[in-house]
Assembly symmetry: C2
Homo-oligomer: 351 residues x 2
């Protein structure tokens, strides 16, 4: 089990569930825009927010953002120890640095002391794209170089009595990312922040993140995740929640099982499934409910029986199942209305 | 290494690259619609097509479809040995059955004899949703039950001198799917057809398939893949190609590295990346080209240098890199036009 740390009231590692993070893309100097984005991200399901402080004139607005943020805030700092110290003094709940670009060990030590005083964790974030030359030029795999770099930093932190650590090792290459996290997972007990960096726009970024983060989570690696997309960060949360749902780490929401349709399908299944998704878009049950909508008699009855609520269509009718028992036969054109009624009834009756 | 089989001219297993499959969703009795869909799928990158023959009146049109199809055809048969035999006689390149629903071992044997005569492979496709009761009621995990079911069928095939086999073990649950394929991968040498079944609509189906198929491919498991979506099957190919690209199994096309933007970004990076994606949408280089478009000086220069062609923006300018060397400084508003020129030049100069 990984060590437990806290970003504000959100536990990471230990027995805590895998949490979802994102990062603001607004100008930190614009307090209203930044707080609005944080609120939108929280509403979408984000649990920890990271905010960059790129320059001195962002420090005063940043203090207000931290005070008013509805989510615990991690500050993202590069190059500048002054910004790090001032952000810590502003009451931030965590700090992310790449110690390799802060300038010197003396400066990193100043950050460790300030963070220790406030009892806030530091994420050591090493990215393949900004690996220092001395590691880059060493022989071996990129993943191995990233791990060597981060382990040197971990030892320096520990030598300075700093143990409130979280680690990330991101690459824009999924294979490197997965290799690096597998290696570091065996080497130390600090919780890991998973992500594939610079993953690209919505579609390809979602696929990259799903494979990289998802395969690690399936191996039991990772305590908190951030999906990076070149898009509105709210989309990152949508992808992150789906990854946690698929890997069995989130037990709320609707999981929709539906078939790809084929020559055997006699109803317009794509339209029926989309209708159900629309009707359920804002329905948030307190636990996971598996719903199956199936187009034929091959896998239909099996999937429908395994689901909490399922419907399997044959030539003329839909057959509705609840927890494995056939409940009733319905006409396709009123099947989704009835299905939704039963899903809401099922959720209500058992929460 | 897995045994080698052939669906028409497409090799599966052995040293062959992982191939992409899909399935028609048209009515097989509609020859024109089905052939049009197969052509659209081929244009999108599909390499093998599966077509269901659900009833006798589909057999005559199916024969024409097989003759005219621009892709090798696998017929999907359930319940009915007559349809299987007639489809084989129609000249199909492969057949997929779940031997558990064909009715009896005697009937399965008829299919084996017919397939052996024509030298076409059979996919033994066991789905969790249609697992026979005798396996379902046995103790143990669902994945274990699926593997037990398929191994009984493999032994029956082998006892009847049939070795031209491909195996699939699909579940709508990603964890079960991954477990089942890991187990079967160790148990036999037949090539595996990967898929997460009934994965749902485009977004959640893409994430499910990416995690399930992607994590197996990263482990070296899988010889051919099919992404199942409740959507136009052309979308399945888009997702499948992205999965193969991300897992390093396809070496063609543009891989776009771009950052999620943050308070440090001073250009409208989302718009710039989307512009580049639009410009490159129909550009198909003969090999993989990595393009990086990065918004700031933290990871920007590193990623841009690692890419084949990259651009990293600072406050005022974009800095263009080619194979690690800084080429030139450009104004943001003409940066993408210049980037595209350099990408096309790079692709042209080296193919």
């Amino acid at each position: 089990m990984k060590k437990e740390i806290f970003i504000g009231n959100v536990g990471i590692g230990g027995n805590h569930p895998v949490s979802i993070q994102s990062m603001t893309s607004t100008d930190t100097r614009d307090i209203t825009a930044t707080l609005n984005q944080i609120t939108a991200l929280k509403d979408a399901g984000c649990e920890i927010i990271r905010v960059a402080v790129p320059a001195k004139d962002a420090l005063v607005p940043f203090k207000t953002i931290v005070e008013k943020s509805p989510l615990p805030v991690v500050v993202d700092i590069h190059f500048d120890v002054y910004l790090a110290i001032k952000s810590i003094e502003a009451g931030v709940h965590g700090i992310r640095i790449n110690p390799g670009n802060i300038g010197s060990n003396k400066k990193v030590k100043e950050i460790l002391i300030a963070a220790n005083e406030r009892k806030i964790p530091i994420r050591i974030g090493v990215n393949a794209g900004s690996l220092e030359k001395k590691y880059w030029n060493a022989p071996g795999s990129t993943a191995g170089k990233m791990v060597a770099s981060v382990m040197d930093k971990v030892r320096f932190f520990e030598d300075n009595q700093f143990f409130n650590i979280k680690i990330s090792l991101k690459s824009s290459d999924v294979i490197q990312t997965v290799q690096a996290y597998r290696l570091i997972d065996k080497k130390c007990d600090y919780p890991l922040h998973l992500g594939v960096t610079e993953a690209g726009t919505f579609f390809s970024g979602a696929i990259k993140s799903a494979i990289g983060i998802g395969s690690l989570l399936l191996e039991g690696i990772g305590s908190t995740i951030r999906v990076s997309l070149t898009d509105d960060p709210v989309q990152e949360i949508k992808v992150a929640k789906e990854i946690l749902q698929v890997t069995g780490l989130r037990k709320t929401g609707i999981e929709m099982i539906s078939c790809p349709t084929c020559s055997r399908t006699s109803v317009d299944l794509i339209a029926l499934v989309k209708e159900a998704e629309r009707e359920l878009a804002h329905f948030k049950p307190g636990r996971k409910i598996v719903v199956a909508i199936m187009g034929c008699e091959v896998n239909g009855p099996g999937e429908a029986k395994e689901a909490d609520i399922g419907i399997a269509f044959s030539q003329k009718y839909g057959y509705i199942f609840k927890k494995g028992e056939m409940l009733e036969k319905v006409e396709p054109n009123r099947s989704i209305t009835r299905l939704i009624e039963l899903i809401k009834d099922f959720a209500g009756g058992e929460t």
